[in-house]
């Protein structure tokens, strides 16, 4: 399936210089939409993809509506798709802010011209904002995996490994001959400080799959901290971000959360033992479980603090943030629209964290998050969710360790025309983890 897209991208290649090329980025966005539309129409026979001038005119005339797609489609697949648009900009030399309009344009043009369905407002929102967040994180992770100084099989493996996260960047590099060419790495290649922790083990949850009983399932948890609030001053969006991915044996992606720094400012001296840093973050949240699904696109503002102990790299970190949920989604009894089983709405909330760390790697965390969502599509309802958890990681040897994690999830839904509904579940995880960290001052 990638061959036609490579051919389409080749048509747009003029030269190989990394200077900003907005026209190329827009052209590739149109190429992505055309490619996806034609594959859906010709290869999969989807009638909704057979759009033409009549459908375009109707879509432009009638405007936005809310769609009824499944939760993973709207809350994960669309943001991932948006990342393709965004990275059409990033891989053509545009910066973060310059690539933002590319993501909005790509999604808007798909919604109006790529389908016979009326354009969906939630799709535009999730594809654009989610695509920006995931796209920038994937762009930076891809740049870190790739190494322009490597050669041979290692080089090819790196390029292939980055491809699932940043396919447009990878294809652009391929057609520009950058899979083999040696040269300097982009600044995103080296995050400075980082922590990568991968864990695998068992996940136990009460009330997760059914109302009673304890469900047992396998889980893989990946945590990545790219950059560090305290190790480097702010210089560009997402120069510091954290992402957590949890795969569960009972349903694929169970958690995908990411939060990247849009702006940061030291509130005191950068050499002080006690540090406070103001941060504005863009956040992406995706929780998908049989009993509860929630997610959304948010912007948060708050303060990260660190107290250093002794000279061996130990410290206490705290975070307190308040957020605006630009558009979130949540399921509850009676929610949804048509075939859709969850609501959409904006909201707000807060999160806090207290952690003990050594050289940037947290080994003990207590955290909590509470969010309010006001439905604008679905049931006439307001939802409150709160999540709190404790994580403890004990080192064994050579980067390996044992991690115990326990979480409590609560939801309280209040309807204007139905009785209040509550749901909670408790979850515990025991994981064998491997941690690799690099940390600055």
């Amino acid at each position: 399936m990638t061959a036609p897209l490579v051919a389409a991208l080749l048509l747009f290649q003029i030269d190989t210089a990394p200077r900003p090329r907005p026209i190329m980025a827009i052209g590739q966005t149109i190429a992505i939409n055309t490619f996806v539309n034609r594959v859906d129409a010709w290869a999969f026979g989807q009638t909704w993809a057979r759009s033409g001038t009549r459908a375009w005119g109707r879509n432009l005339r009638l405007g936005w509506e809310w769609d009824e797609d499944a939760f993973p489609t709207n809350m994960f697949a669309h943001p991932y798709h948006g990342g393709l648009y965004f990275n059409a900009g990033r891989s053509n030399g545009l910066g973060y802010f310059e690539s933002v309009p590319i993501a909005f344009f790509g999604s808007w043009s798909w919604e109006n011209f790529g389908e016979t369905y009326r354009p969906s407002l939630n799709d535009w929102f999730m594809t654009s904002f989610g695509g920006i967040a995931l796209g920038e994180m994937f762009h930076r992770i891809g740049a870190t995996i790739r190494d322009n100084r490597a050669r041979g099989r290692s080089r090819t493996m790196r390029e292939l490994a980055a491809l699932p996260m940043d396919p447009i960047g990878g294809l652009n590099r391929l057609v520009r001959g950058q899979w083999n060419a040696r040269g300097p790495n982009p600044p995103e290649h080296d995050p400075g400080a980082y922590v990568l922790r991968v864990g695998a083990g068992i996940r136990l949850a009460k009330g997760l799959v059914s109302d009673s009983g304890i469900a047992r399932m396998g889980a893989i948890v990946v945590d990545l901290l790219y950059g560090d609030q305290f190790a480097q001053e702010y210089h560009s969006p997402f120069d510091v971000f954290g992402v957590r991915l949890m795969l569960s044996s009972n349903g694929g992606i169970s958690v995908l959360r990411g939060s990247g720094r849009l702006y940061g400012k030291n509130l005191n001296r950068s050499t002080a033992r006690i540090r406070h840093v103001l941060a504005v973050n863009q956040r992406y949240d995706y929780y998908k479980n049989p009993s509860q699904s929630a997610g959304g696109q948010s912007v948060e503002i708050g303060i990260n603090s660190r107290w250093r102990f002794g000279s061996k790299g130990y410290g206490l970190r705290t975070a307190l943030f308040f957020d605006f949920v630009m558009l979130g989604a949540i399921d509850a009894p009676g929610t949804g629209l048509g075939e859709r089983t969850y609501d959409f709405g904006p909201g707000g909330g807060s999160r806090w964290e207290l952690a003990l760390e050594r050289n940037g790697a947290r080994f003990f965390r207590i955290l909590g998050q509470a969010e309010f969502l006001h439905t604008v599509s679905g049931a006439s309802a307001d939802h409150i969710i709160d999540v709190s958890g404790i994580e403890l990681t004990l080192p064994l040897a050579k980067g390996f360790g044992i991690s115990g994690q326990t979480y409590v999830f609560n939801r309280d839904s209040r309807y204007s025309d139905a009785p209040r509904a509550r749901r909670d579940y408790h979850e515990g995880r025991v994981l064998l983890v491997w941690t690799r960290a690099g940390f600055g001052p």
Binding site: L62, W64, E65, W66, F97, F104, M326
Partner: protein, 200 residues
């Protein structure tokens, strides 16, 4: 008439002079803008096979600061009042007002006054149908809004500019319940062309 010609001539002269020196966006430091204009609103909802639309006056206020030579950030409050909205049979007496309060980013791609705007924030809508000569049924909803637009700052002086704007506002305010009908999952899309006065 003569004064209007003088203003136009002054603006043209100023534009010509300004083109001869390096220009940065007029908005530097703390700035504010107040504007008015014409608007068109289109309202769609879940399950609606058609949309209703109407024209009405719009107004907005913006205040903000500078991020860089090419980017400014601000807060924008926008509202559209429509006195001929087709929610009831006697549509001429119905009113609909939609408003947004958003954080906006304005990007000046070059050294001219051209800018592009994008923003996201909270939104509200209030819809009213008269029940009698003195009473009205009113329903309101709150939600979120997106805005995109473009414009041009014509610097009249160091402290003052006239700004032309075109913008679209997409507002989702949930369900609107009015006597005899319920409109689910309302999405209002507004288009605006306006003139603003920018101070810094």
């Amino acid at each position: 008439m003569r004064s209007a010609l003088c203003v136009i001539a002054a603006m043209l002269c100023h534009t010509g002079l300004a083109a001869q020196r390096p220009m940065r966006p007029h908005r530097a430091g703390l700035w504010g803008e107040l504007g008015f204009g014409a608007g068109h609103v289109r309202v769609a909802c879940s399950g609606c096979t058609n949309v209703v639309s109407a024209d009405g006056p719009t107004s907005y206020f913006r205040i903000g600061g500078t991020v860089s030579d090419h980017v400014v950030i601000g807060f924008e409050a926008f509202s559209q009042l429509n006195k001929a909205f087709h929610f009831s049979l006697d549509a001429s007496k119905s009113t609909a007002e939609t408003a947004t309060a958003a954080v906006i980013i304005m990007w000046y791609p070059g050294r001219t006054g051209l800018f592009f705007k994008g923003g996201v924030g909270a939104a509200g809508g209030q819809y009213s149908i008269p029940r009698s000569a003195t009473q009205a049924d009113t329903s309101s909803g709150a939600g979120m809004g997106l805005t995109f637009g473009a414009g041009w700052d014509w610097a009249i002086s160091r402290k003052f500019a006239v700004t032309a704007n075109v913008a679209t506002y997409v507002v989702a305010v949930g369900d609107i319940v009015l006597p005899g009908q319920r409109v689910d999952d309302v999405i209002a899309t507004m288009y605006q062309a306006s003139i603003g006065f920018t101070f810094r």
